[in-house]
Symmetry: C2
Subunit: 342 residues, 2 copies
């Protein structure tokens, strides 16, 4: 192993508009050696998430942006290859913010949010990047803690076939709500309704959104879990009920924009309907993750939560794969397989 290398992608340039493959620079480094208290992790799966686009931009945001020349930030699951920390031993599975690379050192200088995973694994390793990882916790806390849906209410979610959205709708159903998804193809609509149990799904690319929302939400909209912003938010705002809650999880429609994007034209509906729009970032909930993971784990076991993965083979394909997040050309959670699971 000492002759092996650590393949990395570093941030080479900040994207203007869409991400380009050339925004990442491929590098080969020696495999690092852990110091006292540290562990060496081999990444097995790398999560690709819309929020990665935010990290690439030098703008005010919820974490410092990735610096030019730094290894691209990313959440991974991996296995401990070498431990100089008494809490971990070789062979343990962990998740953390370990970046677009084969190997990473945890602890030491870097705040990389390491979490130990159960050993033996109770569910497939990839589940910890999806329903039992950041995306699942995002759906869980965003919907339940911020959206506070009550049984009988109508929950609408955008980017509904995505990693977060698909789980939001399923939790809404578990809680006795009507779940309506907005997504970008008829196939995705069918998957949401037939496989995941959504009450209705709307293909925003072909639908008259006002008309379809009215038909799908005969009692109006009580909770809108917003992943996209833009014109879909505007259409939803026209249909919200009194005291609606809008957990603001993402604004993917604007991430690649090169000019300032206006907020919703129907912003005044927040006033008229006494609605609440609340931004949240899953990192704020880290102290409460076990709460979500326990309940979600139970739902997974009972078959109440299904999830779909799109796994891209090989770290070398990460710079191309991330584009799929923005062109609608994927279904479910996007993951890059970096190395073999032991």
């Amino acid at each position: 192993m000492t002759t092996a290398i650590n393949r990395q992608f570093r941030l080479a340039s900040r994207p203007v508009g869409d991400i380009k493959e050339s925004d990442f620079e491929y590098r080969e480094e020696p495999i690092p050696t852990p110091k006292e208290g540290e562990i060496l992790i081999r990444n097995i799966y790398l999560s690709l998430d819309p929020t990665n686009r935010i990290w690439m931009t030098d703008a005010e945001q919820y974490m410092p942006p990735v610096k030019l020349g730094e290894v691209m930030r990313g959440i991974t699951v991996g296995v401990v290859e070498e431990s100089k920390n008494q809490n971990f031993k070789k062979g343990d599975f962990v998740s953390g913010m370990l970046g677009w690379q084969d190997y990473a050192i945890a602890f030491g200088d870097s705040g990389n949010f390491i979490t130990a995973l159960p050993n033996p694994l109770s569910v497939p390793l990839t589940a910890f990047l999806s329903p039992l990882g950041g995306t699942g916790c995002t759906a869980y806390f965003g919907l339940l803690d911020i959206g506070q849906p009550k049984a009988g209410e109508t929950v609408v979610v955008s980017a509904a076939s995505g990693a977060v959205g698909s789980i939001v709708g399923q939790i809404a159903k578990i809680k006795g709500c009507r779940a309506v998804g907005i997504t970008g193809s008829d196939e995705k609509c069918q998957w949401l309704v037939n496989e995941l149990g959504f009450d209705a799904a709307i293909n925003y690319k072909t639908a008259d959104l006002d008309k379809e929302l009215a038909a799908s939400c005969p009692d109006g909209i009580d909770v809108y879990f917003d992943n996209v912003g833009g014109s879909i938010l505007d259409a939803v705002l026209k249909k919200i009920n009194l005291n609606a809650r809008i957990p603001l999880c993402g604004l993917i429609s604007s991430y690649n924009s090169q000019k300032p994007v206006p907020g919703p034209y129907n912003y005044s509906q927040i006033l008229m309907k006494r609605a609440r729009v609340q931004g949240f970032i899953i990192l704020d909930y880290i102290p409460r993750w076990s709460e979500a993971i326990t309940e979600m784990g139970q739902w997974l076991k009972e078959g109440k939560i299904k999830y779909s993965l799109e796994i891209v083979e090989g770290l070398e394909n990460a710079p191309k794969a991330i584009l799929k997040l923005f062109d609608g050309n994927k279904n479910g959670k996007l993951i890059v397989k970096v190395s073999e699971q032991p």
Copy 2:
């Protein structure tokens, strides 16, 4: 009195852009006679409020719009002239939604939010249209219930010299916060700082708003009490702190607009800063008004809350006076004197 008339202004046309005097039609009607259970009230003061503009528009809103031909809706204080209701007697003071007219009947068909005022009056009658009326309660619940300021935090309020804004800043000071007002003239700025005790005030018409906000809010902005929306909201969003709260009270910058107004360009800050934007309407708090009036009454007596009135003489001047709400040409609460206080 039986030969006297009831002067009224009725809604003649829905304003396109700015309100015009011709949007109101003057009418003379006989003074109505109360039936069993009803009371006849003579209006003494009529409150003019930015929200009146919303009521004139046939758009989705928090109450039904005023119908064409109906007496223009307005909040008044008045005196009972004749009572066929055992809870009221001639000479009692009341406030309610009694419209732009000399006389009104309360109860019966109309939901006109009648509240009995203390007898004898503990404060001037006009106070019940300002710090102890809807405007004071709006400031109180919007700031304290929705904004939830903590001592040491920075509270910014727009339309700060207005009826609501001027009270918001003073309550913020009582609660140990830094209070910063945004208003439209240097004279108003001086009044806020020198008379009302704001820590700083910004004239948005002449200031470099970004620069002045940075100077006035060295620790960022924790609560933004928004009365105006528009470009001021955009400037504030750039400076909000983590978990900022934005009680959304009004959007006066857009009420007269003839074309769709975009929401804030910095809407994404709500996500990045995990902020909360929450619309509210004071009518939702009617069950809790006594809470506000008790505490505000105490602060008034102790001289901790000051307020300014602009009183326009004569109901006949109401259609012209309401324009002052939108041209910035007033200071404090705008009230029309309809008849003499007994």
